[in-house]
Symmetry: C2
Subunit: 354 residues, 2 copies
DNA sequence: CTGTTAGCGCATTCAC
DNA sequence: GTGAATGCGCTAACAG
């Protein structure tokens, strides 16, 4: 037995379908008496307007598309949580498009750029090309989260600043031999965060009269603990290894710490390590890191999007969430003649089993 | 400029709209010549059928709703990944409904039980009541993932068995004083896994001629590391504390390990700890646990759902993913006069900072 | 093979 | 205030 239609309700309430439509949409010009009659009929038939019909009639999809490589990094999940939570407060359905391959990325970024597919588009961690941005701009209100294009509204942190903040912390601790571990600056999806963080590192180094030797930048084959461990090994087996390592993400910092332990190095006594993101695990592992408001940035992206939907002609806006250095127990003053001053307890990270 | 419609294409190609519809839907009875003409027009206008109109006309929503408390536990995310990946292979959109409050739970479970809302419904970790199940059964093809109702198709592990497996492992190591840490058996969402796991524990104990003393079951106020740590403290401060603790989830096992370290107890030398789920973190922490195929179970749930959509009259089916004991380094033979035999290296979990 | 027509269920004009 | 008519864009059934 299929659901009741607006016509069934009209017949039962003894009114026209126009009237039923009016009470559904809280239109003011309906007498109290008929409104009650209609509402009774609605309740009796447990009627609920057919969303597909509404969408077609309204010319709106009542949904926003969220496209992202959701499951590649813990930080994405936390941002997504903010997005979904904020969207639940709106009348829009959340349609999720997970991208795991470049092909999917390209497909979604072009196919979803139409008003008849969604009322708004939220793109996470996938910077559009100029061509894509143009199509998006002409097609559907769009907000970028954790990525950047000058023509589109976005919520994106200042990764150059973050990289500099991490580096300055290490410099302040007296470190001058600072290494950098990151994934490839040329990822298939166009992730650029690690490149900007590197820029920040170099900038801070420059301000201190230092430079980053080429061999101090180890590129992991891919984002993940084991790959970062390998990169860490390379850095630590240098003739003159760094005394501190900045990892482009917390996940990679963990790999670096494992590499240190393999060589019998204590963190932070023998090696300082700083990460980036402040994922849940970071607190648990007492990892010094750059905190960014993940959940909140998802919420803000939704606010930007609602704005863009309501005022389609507004110029793009940018929100830059604040970054914060979180000093925990994986960084310490560089070891000189005597032992490091602060008595941070040794950090315990399980060594790799493989 | 709004997107082209089927009528625009028809005019441009010099055919009727019926013909255009036929080529769109790969209907066989179209001559090659006209097909090509139509396809040309489609390309020139970059036409794409309006999904809302299609849905209304077809009487299908072309989407499946996924309702779950997505972000409460790491294991859910991994299952979700399987669900989304499998759904990407189908013609259905994925509409996500996150539940964070009982009110949301109730609302979604009733509102989504209609054919005009979705073509299929996937419910994760939220066992429906009998009343809800009935409505679901009458309303829309539904599959349960990680929860149970006899009237609905489901993918659900045998938690009683899993609890027994964990317990038998500890028994085999010679432990007889076995504690249990879990969250409340009466969660607001109706999570029942920890209750079944407890049943399995009791059953295995019974088979060994033992019983679980009431004080050996510590209930955490809520699911999370700190709460489980508190529960662990209670167990370990007993006059005769357990020599092994079974935690209802890996997350909780971590809390227990922290509690042990606080008291200066070595894991596994002084205390064996076993978890449940085998989340990513478990391998990293060398946690002995009960593995369940999280990703695969999401995929299987989707297969069940596609089946249910295609064959609405089929009786409910059940898939029980296999469980597997993963022995790592947090369990060891019970300490007797001499030291434990196996030379597992001590497990290193950071102690709580707070 | 192909053009035309009749809905799909609702919102939104219009007249009344 | 309210009922009836028109159209949203498409699919499917029907004639030709």
């Amino acid at each position: 037995m299929s659901p009741a239609t607006i016509r069934d309700v009209a017949k039962r309430a003894g009114v026209g379908i126009g009237t039923v439509s009016r009470v559904i949409n809280n239109h003011p010009s309906v007498s109290e008496a008929t409104r009650q009659a209609v509402e009774l009929a609605i309740a009796e038939l447990s009627f609920s307007p057919n969303p597909s019909a509404r969408r077609l009639s309204l010319g709106k999809t009542l949904s926003v598309a969220v496209v992202a490589p959701f499951f590649t990094r813990p930080a994405f999940i936390e941002r997504l949580r903010g997005v979904v939570t904020a969207l639940a407060e709106t009348p829009y359905d959340v349609v999720a498009y997970n991208v795991e391959t470049p092909k999917q990325r390209n497909r979604y970024l072009t196919e979803l750029a139409r008003r008849d597919r969604c009322d708004g588009l939220l793109i996470m961690a996938l910077a559009p090309t100029d061509e894509e941005a143009e199509r998006l701009l002409a097609g559907v209100p769009t907000v970028l989260l954790d990525c950047y294009h000058p023509c589109l509204s976005r919520v994106v942190i200042d990764d150059v600043l973050g990289g500099a903040m991490a580096t300055r912390h290490l410099l302040a601790l007296g470190h001058t031999r600072i290494g950098y571990v990151s994934d490839s600056p040329a990822s298939p999806f166009g992730f650029v965060a690690s490149r900007y963080r590197l820029q920040g590192l170099q900038q801070a180094l420059y301000e201190a009269g230092l430079t980053l030797p080429a061999e101090y930048h180890a590129v992991a084959a891919q984002h993940g603990v084991p790959e970062a461990r390998e990169a860490g090994r390379i850095l630590l087996s240098l003739p003159e290894p760094p005394t501190a390592i900045f990892a482009a993400s917390d996940t990679q910092a963990i790999g670096v710490i494992q590499a240190a332990r393999e060589r019998g190095l204590e963190v932070p006594e023998d090696l300082s390590v700083i990460g980036y993101d402040d994922i849940d695990l970071a607190e648990f592992l007492h990892l010094t890191t750059i905190h960014q408001p993940l959940f909140a940035s998802g919420v803000e992206a939704v606010e930007l999007l609602m704005d863009a939907i309501e005022h389609p002609e507004m110029p793009p806006r940018e929100i830059r969430p604040y970054l914060r250095l979180v000093t925990r127990q994986t960084t310490a003053p560089v070891r000189t003649g005597r032992l490091a001053g602060s008595a941070a307890s040794p950090v315990q990270v399980p060594s790799a089993s493989a």
